[in-house]
Symmetry: C2
Subunit: 474 residues, 2 copies
């Protein structure tokens, strides 16, 4: 807890490159009113949901096509000026901040669903399509796209950050669900990284190199993802536990038995209180597991019975079931509102989020010690977790005007990450590295692996214009 | 069918680099009798299951540790001499051929299971562990490793070629199942590409960059993979169909309905005959689907009933069930013997294998036209398919002493790949590019994507010593 925190974890290294007038003129000429330099627009594109701040980008280009993106990248490249892809701004680790200046390329207007191939369980979309929009578009086919990071993020952004969320325990993350991408490279060329075949051994896996590259290797301009048949039966349940440990041990056993649970989410007592206050609910104020089961009616029944048996061994209380879509929506909305409920519980606060993920057998060790540390710190926090994957988030609620609170929160985070790495886990299960975890990444993977990432970056982006200053320093 | 075939599809481009005496002396000094220059050893390491031939490597180093591999790579790097990792030699596309000369690094003695983490459903092994050895080692834990490419390949080789096989329809390929690797890079450094956490967003996905890189970016020296609980119930069945089309349409509907079938394999009538003759079986000589269902007893029953209903709509005959482990082993041994049965059906022949994979809705189109072409050619063939993934293999049985037969087989392959690409598929579902599909790779992904692969290769292996001349030319 008292180890010194590298300042790179606290303050981004800001050194904007100059944006030449000639570039601004060229962008204005090419994009006219779709290139905005209005301060309010730039400011909106110069931040994300992280607690970091940096001067906004010099301009925002609203792309409407892959050709727009390619032209913007080429123009920026001519002047070695950074470009930062922007979807809807829900990233959490400072990914969108113009720490080296440059141009934001907003792809939110590229929001067409290009082709639904229901018979192949695939869909191809432009990068500005959001996950809710996608699910609306495919609803009539009887299929759905399961990845649900909470925020209504874009498919481009979700790909770029290797997002996952509540359904990943059963359906995997963006890593497993992106089949192919179209990408504008640093040179402004347009490539495709794969086909619609379900599997392939055709050369280097450029798709997965791009997924999670956080805009540092290219701008994603099309995304092909897998869809799944809507389960015949869906059932959701809440179960309360006498302690976090009991909830976690229940989860561990569910996973180890191979029960194909679709969601298993932990909410701690604190957070339940915040959610109840925010959404006028009356959830039992104890550690909860929110669960969802997908399958045939018989399969869902079987899973639910097994899970109830396990939960009761650990003192879990009677399940409350939500079987209608409305009840389920209410339940998952409560879960997704945890962040906003927490923010509202301390007016003016910012949340510093953690994102560790450990092998499931280490989950109790990792979580319980960190809860004890957080309780002892006096900093209020929320705690939610995709515990079926060994992934959980503390959100330390700090007063941004008090540097000491930020420092304590970062110390807690540092202790948690150190613990997770010792337990063979990762500093980030799903949020990405961005600005916040650059130091942790080196500790986690070792300097050699980060050097390999750097070599790839230099090879594919020799001018270092693609979202520079993120993931690692060059 | 009559388009000209680039000669690169037929004959590898062979230009061995000189191996200096000083390197040979240094290797002998470091590895003593574990560095062999015996012709028989070199020849055994200079070929794989492909029909290509090239002069053997100059020496074979039998590595027993990661340090051995690192030292061998460093020594070879000092003299810019190629290194080719070797497991058990079951690759199919010329991956192991020393087309640019160099040293073979045999990792088959690195065959320790390093740690079984049953409670996390993970295991870490050395690269020379084979899949059967792995399953033997984890048997007592109630877990298993599902990836089954037929051959008893090594985990290192399976990772390097992004292998899959019969179980991939349910459990995914090596892409989805490798969690982390230890890799010796071209500079002889040792890196780790991930942790044991189930998911991670920590920087570039080096794990998946290495998986499928065919030894061209590094030598894999440790593999951490996911395990799965042995299903409570397993049931296998054979169903015969009046036509390949009926079998394929049954498969398409199974997949589109989201039935979690564990295996669904097609064998055509020809191949059934060959298998019957080879293994003294009496399988019905009609197109067959071999299927396997995993789950709870009730779940397996439910899946099997649904599949029987679908099959009977397409004229599928009464299922023959295999529920005991012995019966199942017999069934899958028959499937895995298809290759050997076919080879034996035409003494002295070599098989030229295809490996296309298409979106499931295109499977019938792709397969049926190719069957018609193959039938018209007069070249005998076998046909098996992981049809649940849209992946199938023709094996054209050619007399290697008759160039005209090879040419016809390559023309059939060319027509098939062209068709698969038109149908939004890939030239290789699971065998990799090796020497055989370098031309197809460019057609499939476009020159821009291959250029990106080349840039990565140059950045990570500036002396081009890691299995050079495979996947793409430099």
């Amino acid at each position: 807890m008292n180890a010194p925190i590298p300042t790179s974890h606290l303050v981004p290294d800001i050194h904007p490159r100059e944006v030449p007038v000639a570039l601004m003129e060229a962008l204005k000429k090419r994009f006219a009113e779709r290139c905005s330099t209005a301060l309010v627009v730039r400011e909106q594109h110069g931040r994300d949901e992280s607690s970091f701040e940096a001067p906004p980008p010099a301009a925002v280009v609203f792309a409407e096509s892959t050709a727009d993106v390619a032209d913007a990248v080429k123009l920026a490249g001519d002047y070695s000026v950074p470009v930062i892809p922007f979807g809807v701004g829900t990233s959490l680790e400072g990914h969108l901040l113009a720490v080296q200046g440059g141009i934001s390329i907003d792809v939110s207007r590229m929001n067409q669903v290009l082709s639904i191939n229901a018979e192949d369980l695939t869909v191809t979309v432009q990068p500005g399509v959001t996950r809710k929009q996608l699910n609306e578009a495919v609803k009539s086919t009887g299929l759905f796209f399961p990845i649900d990071p909470g925020a209504d993020a874009t498919l481009g952004g979700m790909s770029a950050t290797r997002a996952s969320g509540t359904n990943a325990v059963r359906y995997g993350t963006m890593r497993e669900n992106v089949l192919a991408l179209q990408v504008v490279t640093a040179s402004g060329d347009i490539i495709r990284t794969g086909t619609r075949a379900k599997k392939s051994a055709a050369g280097y896996d450029l798709t997965r190199l791009m997924v999670g590259s956080e805009g540092t290797l290219g701008v994603i301009t099309e995304v092909t993802v897998r869809l799944y048949p809507l389960p015949e039966a869906i059932s959701a349940a809440i179960c309360s536990f006498p302690s976090i440990e009991a909830a976690v041990r229940t989860t561990i056993q569910i996973i180890q038995m191979g029960i194909p649970i679709a969601r298993v989410e932990l909410i701690d007592r604190n957070t339940v209180r915040m959610v109840n206050a925010y959404a006028h609910l009356s959830l039992r104020e104890e550690p909860l597991l929110l669960m969802e089961f997908h399958g045939s009616p018989a399969g869902v029944k079987e899973q639910a019975e097994l899970v109830q048996e396990i939960a009761s061994e650990f003192g879990g209380n009677a399940f409350e079931w939500a079987t209608t879509p409305e009840e389920r929506t209410r339940l998952w909305t409560a879960r997704h509102n945890a962040y906003f409920a927490a923010i509202q519980s301390k007016p003016g606060c910012r949340a510093i989020s953690t994102d560790t993920c450990v092998p499931i057998s280490r989950l109790a060790d990792c979580l319980l010690d960190s809860v004890a540390e957080a309780d002892a710190s006096g900093i209020p926090y929320f705690l939610v977790g995709h515990v079926g994957d060994g992934n959980f988030h503390f959100g330390y609620l700090i007063d941004p005007s008090k540097p000491s609170e930020r420092e304590i929160a970062e110390q807690l985070n540092h202790a948690l990450v150190t613990r997770a790495l010792r337990l063979e886990g990762t500093c980030t299960g799903e949020h990405g590295v961005g600005l916040h975890k650059m130091g942790f990444l080196v500790t986690e993977t070792g300097a050699g692996a980060v050097d390999m990432m750097r070599s790839i970056k230099r090879a594919l982006d020799p001018k270092n214009i693609m979202n520079p200053g993120k993931i690692f320093s060059l």
